[in-house]
Every structure is written in structure tokens, then in C-alpha cells.
């Protein structure tokens, strides 16, 4: 190792606190990105595995409407068309021993070409599936998790009904991808039909068609025997459409993680800048000895590269740990809002790790580029003068502000472009953030100059010195303030967005939820009433004293223009009028037309995604084929990101062979007692199925709890951004302490007490925190507007009213102030307690 490299490494080693903070800053920045990537990839992988586990080798699938397919179609396929490469399947989700299980009913005799692994290995057990109802096979690791052995009996709950089933065999762990089988239960079709109360129905029929010229002819023959509502789809595109539903959600998570990395980059920039500034004397000495600019540049970058590598590797480890928590939060959100995901485990894949490593190293090098250039460009004699750096930094401030202004204007130009691109939306967001951040040192300078005379008069020399130090060391303080401002602005922006969203959803819930009580069967999603109610339930509930009227609801997934959307069939009881808040359409005209079945209403996200407006026709795959329904109005809806169609029950039943109801809304007579009616409903339905009977208030509270859960990930990321910024500002003050030892030694020699020195440092850090908090408020509000009006709109199509409470401002100020003061405490103490003689000896 050369002496230059040794000198550089020993410098890092001699400043362990700075080293640790820099590495930690990089590590946290990388950790956030890696954890979100790992989580996103795990969700995608879990989805792929779920699909792969049951899709097998199918090239096409025959699917039906909400009630699936009649099993006679399968007989027709094999007997009339002689299609041997076909396999029927029915799948449901159930709960057993607090775990969600994906129960798949198959015809073992038809399985070998599709999912051969289930039948090949377990011949005896497979025969049992056929001969004994209520018997199942399970993946060995799932059985271990549920503490089950072969021949054990256990209870599985489906749609409020508990059934006892028996485990008769296990899948081998030598499967090529054991994770694909996690939580999978295989049984005979008849067993699933029995426990899900769907006699004679199938979810789909898998087909294995050769990709040749004959395929079209085969498809034509299949179409000729299809029942109304049934259709043949490409297996891959079907699963792709399902995964697409979560795209915007995953993109937003990625953007949040990148924001944390940007804050991390500020920290790295800060750290490297300090390292350069502190060593200007040393760099000057090296330059005098004949070390070239290139060598200085490489020295700084090499050092930073090392920090970047160590930080990034540590970041991968922290990211992995963080992702284990995040994956559960995200899986829960996916289950709440999109589809049932049974695999909730973190999957480690090389790509997110490599990306995190590369991003960490590249971000570190990019952040170090400017300080390294600065170090290399410094003339040997100028490098010895510390004031020169500040003079240059001060001359740079107006140029930075101009660049910031140009970026902000650029963002505004992009904003007015007639585009729906989410990517462009993020470009606007990042340009705006960068622009406003670059302007902050100039504002800090102005603000300090404005406050200085008055503060000096009011609080004396200590305050004047403290504030003066902020401007005098703008090259360091400016960056620290900008980093803290950015982190706090992020929390303000995201906070205002979440508050606005929550308030909008709260208002929407109170205007949409009109019934006094809601009845549904427990499903896997807390939001969607997905399980069918027994036919007897409706009759019994109708008889309960105090129930004046009942509305019914059924929520199903349908396909429209290649997208999967939700359809809500609303059955309005006598004297109940729909009260959905409309975004477009005159209620006086819309509702009579809706009740007359002249069309459907669509939700705001659906109108956005499919560019539909009143009067347009929306095509929907129904059991009677593709039907186009006139759009009568557009209503606000925050329950579904992909969009929803509202159809009156009677119209629904004209087009769908589905008489199941999954939710009831009960309207009570004015004198009815709510609690009493809940008890009566429970008593009346006790012997039918287990039901959830929830009051209007409970549903609202549950919905808001789910809303909060959805943003739990966001809150974790926000918190991390603040921690990164806190480390940044702590690192900045530690460095300042090193810088100013001699200056403070002089103050101590002239009579400043340790308390006065601590007070001065605290005043300075407090002022810096206050300034960062002050600047974070307008920046955060701009950020919030972009998140609400651009990112949310383009991702989900939701509109929301911006709600800004005074709390947000106070929180921003308090957060910045507390972070800065806390970060300044230890350096302040150190400065105050450094022996004066030693401080004065410092060169």
C-alpha cells in the first residue's frame, strides 16, 4: 500500500465517529432501497409462485364468470372434443391454525401433464383423495409449520363455515422450487366443491395447446361448446393482468425509498466535504510535495469508494432485516386491497442486492465527486487558507440558487405538459425537490443576515457568534441545513398527503356508508366482502325485529378491456336511495337512470384508467358475453385502486348467473336498539354460518384502520429518512467541532465559560434546525401538492382535497429543532470541555 493510501486510511481511522456516521448514513440509505426492492420482488415472486404452483404447464385457461364454470363443460371437452390435455380445477382460500391456505381441488387422473408432481410422488395418497372425501395433501414444510403429521385431522374455515379435513400425504421437499408449494393444499375437486358450497362448479379448466397452426382451429372448436360467460384466455396474460394491479403501489414504494437515498446522498456529500475541508492543510502539504491533482482526486474518491463499499454491504444486511418486517406489512396491504397472497416470506434474490450495492457505491461516488474535484483543484498555497474555501462557497451560493430556480421552473414546465406518465410525475417531484434544496443555502444566508442584528441585540454576543458562524461556515452548515430540510420536507409532504387522503376517505365513508349494520361472511380480505352468504341468512335477517330495510351487495372481479376491475352489484331494498357522492353527473338524473337499469356508474379510478366519461360505453365480460354498459355517472371511491363498476342487482342478474350475495346492509327502524339487533341477527343466523355483524361505526373504524395499515410502510420509510438526516446533522456538528476547536479555545481563553460555549453551540444548532424546519414547510407543501395532484392522480386516479393542519407545521419545526439540538448536544459538550490549552495548540 502506498504512503498516500496509508495516510488516507489512517485519517479515517483517527476519526472513528465520523467514519461510523458516514458508513451508517450510506448503510441506511442503501438499506431503505434494498428493503423496498426485496419486498417488492418478494411480493412479485410470491405471486409468481402462487400462480406457478397451480398453473403448472397450462398454456390457456377456460374461465367463467363470478360463479365459475359448470363441470359438465369439462366432460364435454374430453368426451366430445377428445381433449386429453385438459385439467379441471377449483381453488379457494381457507384459514387453518391461524394460517391462510390455498386449497386447490384437482382431478388427479387428468393432472400428470399439468401438475405431475402432485400425483407422481404420492400414488397411494392420491388414491385416497379420490376414494375418501375430506382428505388432502400438503407441502411438508407447511405441515411442519401447522404442526401436522400425516393422518392428522384439522379444521379449516371457509366463508364462515368450519370443516374437518384429514392430511393423508405430503409433497416431497425435493421439488424444484419448494417455496412455490408453501401454504398449498391439494385435494380432490369434490372436496373443495363440498367445503366451499359450490356443487358442480369449477374455477377453471387448464388447457395445454401446442403453439402451432392448429391452435386456432382447436380454440374455435372449444368456443363452440363454451357456456355463456365462459372464455378461453392466455394463461400468462391472465396472471400478468393480476400482477399489474399492484404496479402503482410498488412504484410508489420504490419512489419513497429513492427519496431516502437522496437524503443519504446529502449525508455522504456532507461527510466527504468535511473530510476534504478538514484535510485542506494535509492536501496542501501533499500538493507541495508534488502530488498531482489527479492523485488527490483519486485519493478522495478511493477513500469514498471504500466507505461506499463498507456502507453498502452493511446496508444490504440492514436492508435484509428491514425487509423482513416490511414484507409482512406489504403482504397485508396486498391482501387488503388487491388479491390473496399466501406466501408472506422474504425471498432473497441477487438482483435487488446487486442493485443496492451498485446504487450505494455509485451514489457515494457521485456525492463525493464535487468535494473531490474541489480538493483536486485547490492550489497548494490557497489550500492552506481556510477562509478561501468559505469565500468560494459563498460565491457559489447564488449560482446554486440560480440552478435551483432553473430546475424548479423545469419541473413546472414538465408539470403543465399534457401527460399521464407516472415516470414524468416522479421527474417533476425530484426536480422540484432538488431545485428547492439548491435554493436553500441562499435563503439561509438571507435569513441569518436578517435575524442577526436583532438577535445580537436581544441575546448578546453568544447568539451573534452562533448565528455568525452559520454564515461564516456556509460550506458546511448550508449542506447540513439542506439535508435536514429535505428530510423534514419529505415528512411534511407525505404527512399532508396522508392526512388529506385520510380526511377525504373519512368524509367519503360517512357519506357512502348509510346502513346501520353490515353483515358479511369472514373472508381473507378485511375490505372486500368476498365470501357468499348462505341463502338462508337473508331470509332470517329479514325477520329480525327492528330491521326496516335491507340492501344487498356482491363484489366480484370482472374483466374490462384486458384489465381486471371490481364490480359491485347493489340490491336496494324498498325505500332505500343510493347516496354515493358523485364526481360527475347530476344526481337528479343519474340515480333515476341507474334505478331504471339504463346503465352503470363507474368509480373515479376506473374513469381515469380507462379514460371514460359520462355517456361512454364500458365493455364488461359477463356470463352472457361481452356487454357494453352506458356510463351514467362517475362516483368517488377509495376502496379499489383498479376501479369499480356499480351495477344494480337486477341488471347484474340479467347478465351474470350468480345469485349469491356477499354483504347485507341493514337499515333499522328509528326505535330499534343497535346492540339488541346485532345480538338478534347473530342468534338468528347461528346455525347457518359464522357471520360478521358490524355497526356502521365499526365498519368505518375498520376501514380507517386498514387505511392506516396501508400507510404503515410509508411511515417507516419517512422515519428512516429522518434518521438518515439526523445522522447527517450529527456528523456535520461533529465535524464542525473538530473545525472550531482552536476558535473555541480562544473564546475560552478570553473568558467564555464551558456553559456559555455549550449555549453558543446549542444556539447555533437550534437556529440551523429552526431554519431547516422553516424551509421544510413550503417545500413540504409543494411536495404534498405534487404527491396529491400528480403522483396519486397518475398512479391511482384518486382525487382528494388538500388538508393542511397547523399541527403539521408545528411538527415540522419541532422535528427539525429537536433533531438539530440533539445532534448538537454531544459536539457542544465536547467543545466546551476540550482543555483550553490543548485547543489553542491545535493547528
Amino acid at each position: 500500500m502506498s504512503s498516500l493510501s496509508r495516510a488516507s486510511l489512517r485519517y479515517l481511522w483517527r476519526h472513528p465517529w465520523q467514519l461510523v456516521l458516514a458508513v451508517l448514513g450510506i448503510a441506511l440509505g442503501v438499506a431503505v432501497v434494498v428493503s423496498v426492492d426485496l419486498t417488492n420482488e418478494s411480493v412479485r415472486r410470491a405471486f409468481d409462485l402462487s400462480v406457478q404452483a397451480v398453473a403448472g404447464e397450462a398454456s390457456h385457461q377456460i374461465i367463467g364468470g363470478p360463479s365459475g364454470l359448470d363441470e359438465t363443460l369439462y366432460t364435454q371437452l374430453r368426451v366430445e372434443l377428445g381433449m386429453r390435455d385438459s385439467a379441471p380445477l377449483i381453488d379457494i382460500y381457507g384459514k387453518a391454525r391461524a394460517s391462510t391456505l390455498h386449497v386447490v381441488g384437482i382431478d388427479p387422473l387428468a393432472e400428470i401433464p399439468f401438475r405431475g408432481r402432485f400425483v407422481k410422488q404420492q400414488d397411494a395418497a392420491v388414491r385416497t383423495l379420490l376414494s375418501t372425501p375430506g382428505t388432502v395433501l400438503m407441502d411438508a414444510s407447511t405441515a411442519r409449520r401447522l404442526d401436522l403429521s400425516v393422518d392428522d385431522r384439522f379444521k379449516i374455515t371457509v366463508g364462515g363455515h368450519a370443516h374437518e379435513i384429514q392430511l393423508v400425504g405430503l409433497f416431497g421437499s425435493h421439488d424444484s422450487n419448494p417455496a412455490a408449494l408453501d401454504s398449498l393444499v391439494i385435494t380432490d375437486i369434490a372436496t373443495v366443491q363440498a367445503i366451499s358450497n359450490q356443487p358442480g362448479r369449477l374455477s377453471r379448466i387448464d388447457l395445454k395447446l401446442r403453439n402451432d397452426n392448429g391452435t386456432a382451429a382447436v380454440l374455435k372448436r372449444i368456443h363452440s361448446i363454451l357456456q355463456p360467460g365462459a372464455r378461453v384466455v392466455d394463461a400468462e396474460s391472465r396472471s400478468h393482468a393480476l400482477l399489474q394491479m399492484t404496479r402503482a403501489f410498488r412504484t410508489n414504494l420504490t419512489a419513497m425509498s429513492l427519496l431516502a437515498l437522496v437524503v443519504g446522498m446529502f449525508l455522504i456529500y456532507n461527510t466527504v466535504t468535511f473530510a476534504v475541508l478538514q484535510r485542506r492543510g494535509l492536501i496542501a502539504s501533499l500538493r507541495l510535495l508534488g502530488v498531482t491533482r489527479g492523485q488527490v482526486f483519486r485519493l478522495i474518491l478511493g477513500e469514498t469508494l471504500l466507505l461506499g463499499l463498507i456502507g453498502s454491504v452493511l446496508g444490504l444486511l440492514i436492508g435484509f432485516t428491514l425487509a423482513q418486517g416490511l414484507v409482512h406489512l406489504v403482504t397485508r396491504t396486498v391482501n387488503d386491497h388487491y388479491f390473496v397472497l399466501t406466501v408472506g416470506e422474504l425471498v432473497i434474490m441477487p438482483w435487488p442486492l446487486l442493485k443496492g450495492l451498485a446504487l450505494g457505491v455509485v451514489a457515494t461516488l457521485l456525492a463525493a465527486l464535487l468535494p473531490a474535484v474541489e480538493a483536486a483543484r485547490t492550489e497548494p498555497h490557497a489550500a492552506l487558507q481556510r477562509s478561501g474555501i468559505e469565500v468560494r462557497a459563498r460565491s457559489l451560493v447564488p449560482r446554486l440558487a440560480m440552478t435551483g430556480l432553473a430546475l424548479t421552473l423545469g419541473a413546472l414546465v414538465l408539470l403543465v405538459l399534457p401527460s399521464r406518465s407516472l415516470l414524468l410525475g416522479f421527474a417533476v417531484l425530484f426536480l422540484m425537490i432538488l431545485g428547492l434544496t439548491l435554493m436553500s443555502p441562499l435563503v439561509v444566508s438571507w435569513l441569518t443576515h436578517a435575524v442577526l442584528p436583532l438577535a445580537g441585540r436581544l441575546f448578546g454576543i453568544q447568539t451573534r457568534l452562533a448565528l455568525g458562524g452559520v454564515v461564516a461556515s456556509l460550506s458546511r452548515t448550508g449542506v447540513a441545513i439542506a439535508a435536514l430540510m429535505l428530510a423534514v420536507a419529505t415528512t411534511v409532504g407525505v404527512g399532508v398527503m396522508v392526512d388529506s387522503f385520510r380526511s377525504t376517505v373519512e368524509q367519503w365513508l360517512s357519506s357512502t356508508l348509510r346502513a346501520d349494520l353490515y353483515v358479511s361472511a369472514p373472508g381473507l380480505s378485511t375490505i372486500r366482502p368476498e365470501m357468499a352468504l348462505d341463502m338462508a341468512v337473508l331470509e332470517r335477517v329479514r325477520e329480525v325485529p327492528g330491521v326496516a330495510a335491507i340492501s344487498t351487495g356482491s363484489q366480484i372481479m370482472v374483466e374490462s378491456d384486458g384489465r381486471l376491475i371490481e364490480l359491485f352489484a347493489l340490491g336496494l331494498g324498498h325505500s332505500i336511495l343510493p347516496r354515493y357522492p358523485l364526481k360527475a353527473g347530476d344526481p337528479g338524473q343519474v340515480w333515476p337512470a341507474f334505478l331504471a337499469n339504463r346503465g352503470v356508474l363507474i368509480s373515479e379510478p376506473l374513469a381515469w384508467h380507462q379514460r371514460l366519461t359520462i355517456g361512454d360505453l364500458i365493455p364488461i365480460h359477463t356470463d352472457t358475453g361481452i356487454r357494453a354498459f352506458p356510463v351514467l355517472g362517475i362516483y368517488y371511491d377509495y376502496s379499489s385502486e383498479q376501479g369499480e363498476v356499480l351495477m344494480q342487482r337486477s341488471l347484474y342478474e340479467q347478465h351474470f348467473e350468480d345469485h349469491a350475495v356477499s354483504a347485507l346492509g341493514l337499515y333499522l327502524s328509528p326505535d330499534a336498539d343497535l346492540q339488541r339487533v346485532i345480538e338478534l341477527v347473530r342468534d338468528a343466523t347461528l346455525d347457518t354460518q359464522y357471520l360478521m355483524v358490524r355497526s356502521n361505526r365499526t365498519v368505518r373504524e375498520t376501514s380507517l384502520a386498514i387505511f392506516d395499515r396501508t400507510f404503515a410502510v410509508t411511515n417507516v420509510l419517512r422515519l428512516l429518512a429522518v434518521i438518515v438526516a439526523f445522522i447527517g446533522i450529527l456528523s456535520a456538528f461533529m465535524a464542525l467541532q473538530l473545525e472550531r476547536v482552536r476558535e473555541l479555545g480562544v473564546l475560552r481563553a478570553t473568558g467564555f465559560t464551558p456553559g456559555q460555549v455549550t449555549g453558543m453551540v446549542t444556539a447555533q444548532t437550534g437556529f440551523m434546525g429552526f431554519t431547516a424546519g422553516l424551509l421544510a414547510i413550503p417545500t413540504g407543501l409543494v411536495l404534498a401538492e405534487i404527491l396529491i395532484e400528480v403522483i396519486n392522480r397518475r398512479s391511482f386516479g384518486w382525487s382528494m382535497k388538500t388538508v393542511v393542519s397547523a399541527d403539521v407545521f408545528l411538527q415540522a419545526l419541532a422535528l427539525a429543532l429537536v433533531a438539530a439540538i440533539l445532534a448538537g448536544l454531544y459536539p457542544g459538550w465536547r467543545m466546551a470541555h476540550t482543555p483550553t490549552a490543548r485547543a489553542l495548540r491545535q493547528e
Binding site: S2, S3, L4, R6, A7, S8, R10, Y11, R14, G281, L282, A284, S285, L286, R287, L288, L289, G290, V291, T292, R293, G294, E379, P380, H381, E843
Partner: protein, 224 residues
């Protein structure tokens, strides 16, 4: 040989111009020792910086061993300085994160020379026992001896010293000065030394005075 032709150096300070050097011309022969005297702000350090190639004149030429420094690129001047020039400063400017030996080895490493010579120089300055010590453990006089070893280890043709005893006590100053004189005479190195000290000046073959940026050989008693 050092040749300075009509050197001027002007600094701009806001709207004002300050002339640090005014038409300075000087020729220093190979192996000659020259002392530069002058009050604070008279331009001594500026002249040293120009000779060392770490600053450029506003007008005039700096020629060392027939090479015109002010026509070189910054990179060429750095390499020139690395091979031909040694520096000694009042505050030593040692690398705090390198040991005494490593500090002395540094110029040899930069010039791809055999680093063993560093031990010989350390022996000559009497610091062999401190070879693995870090500079902050040494006294001022010892640090300056390390600086002298480092400045001469690669046998530069020109040695530039800015107040080499300015930060030392009388005894240490005398020791350092003796060492410096001996080594430059033995190596035949040209030495330009900036000083306020009569003792340092006595080491010189010739003495010049800088007064308000002008060079004269008239020694004003006021300086002492």
C-alpha cells in the same frame, strides 16, 4: 540555477489591486544559498511560491535549470516540483497520519525512487530512533528536522525554506540551521530561505531584502 526575470504579482481584492511583487529580477547560482529578508507583507512568501511553481506571476518569467515554470501546465509544474524542489515551512506541514519514516519516504515513493534512502536521511538528522513515531509526538525542533529530511531526501536542485526556525526555540533553531546548512552544502542544493532571523541570514552567500514588493540587496538595519 534560478533565474527570475522582471517578476510581478498582482492580487485583486474586490475593486482594488494589490501589487505583492514589482519587477523582481534575480539569478541564483547552483548550490548558492540566498536569504530573503523583509517585513511582513513585503512579498517574501509570494516570491517563494513563484519559485516553487505553486503560484504564477502576473508578468515576468521564472526559469529553473533552463525550464520556464510559467510556461508549464499545472500538471507539469507539479511534476517539476515533485522532482526538483523541496519545501520547508515554519509550521513543518508534516503528514500527521504517517510515521516519521513514512513522511520521509513519501517524496521517494512519489518519484519512484528507492525508499531505503529515507533511513540514511533520518540518520543524518539524528531521528532514526523516532522512525516509527507519529509527528505529533515530536518536539518542534524534531518535527522540523523531519521536514528537512523529507525536503532533501529526493535530492532536489532547489530547496525553499519559509521561516524554518520561526517556530523554534534558540537551541532547536541553531541545531536545525546547522543541519540545513550542512546538508545543502553537501548535496549542492540551491537554497532560498525567507527569514526574519539574523542567524539564518548569516548562513547565506547573499542576502536580499524585499520592501513593498521590490527586491534590493541593501540591508536595512530596521529589519533586524
Amino acid at each position: 540555477m534560478i533565474q527570475l526575470h522582471n517578476l510581478s504579482r498582482t492580487y485583486r481584492e474586490g475593486q482594488c489591486k494589490r501589487e505583492a511583487l514589482r519587477s523582481v529580477s534575480l539569478t541564483v547560482a547552483r548550490g548558492e544559498v540566498v536569504a530573503l529578508l523583509g517585513r511582513s507583507g513585503s512579498g517574501k512568501s509570494t516570491l517563494l511560491n513563484l519559485i516553487g511553481g505553486i503560484d504564477l506571476p502576473s508578468t515576468g518569467e521564472v526559469i529553473i535549470d533552463s525550464q520556464v515554470l510559467n510556461r508549464m501546465s499545472e500538471y507539469e509544474r507539479t511534476l517539476f516540483r515533485r522532482r526538483r524542489v523541496g519545501f520547508i515551512y515554519q509550521f513543518f506541514n508534516l503528514i500527521p497520519t504517517l510515521t516519521v519514516l513514512e513522511n520521509v519516504q513519501l517524496p521517494l515513493e512519489l518519484n519512484f525512487l528507492d525508499v531505503e534512502r529515507a533511513d540514511q536521511l533520518l540518520d543524518k538528522v539524528g531521528l532514526t530512533d523516532y522512525r516509527d513515531t507519529y509527528p505529533d509526538r515530536l518536539s518542534g525542533g524534531e518535527q522540523q528536522r523531519v521536514a528537512i529530511a523529507r525536503a532533501l531526501v529526493h535530492e532536489p536542485t532547489v530547496l525553499l525554506a519559509d521561516e524554518p526556525t520561526g517556530n523554534l526555540d534558540a537551541e532547536s533553531g541553531r541545531l536545525v540551521l546547522g543541519l540545513l546548512g550542512d546538508l545543502v552544502r553537501v548535496q549542492g542544493t540551491t537554497l532560498v530561505v525567507v527569514t526574519h532571523s539574523r542567524k539564518v541570514a548569516e548562513l547565506a552567500d547573499r542576502i536580499f531584502v524585499l520592501d513593498d514588493g521590490r527586491l534590493t540587496d541593501r540591508i536595512d538595519e530596521v529589519i533586524w
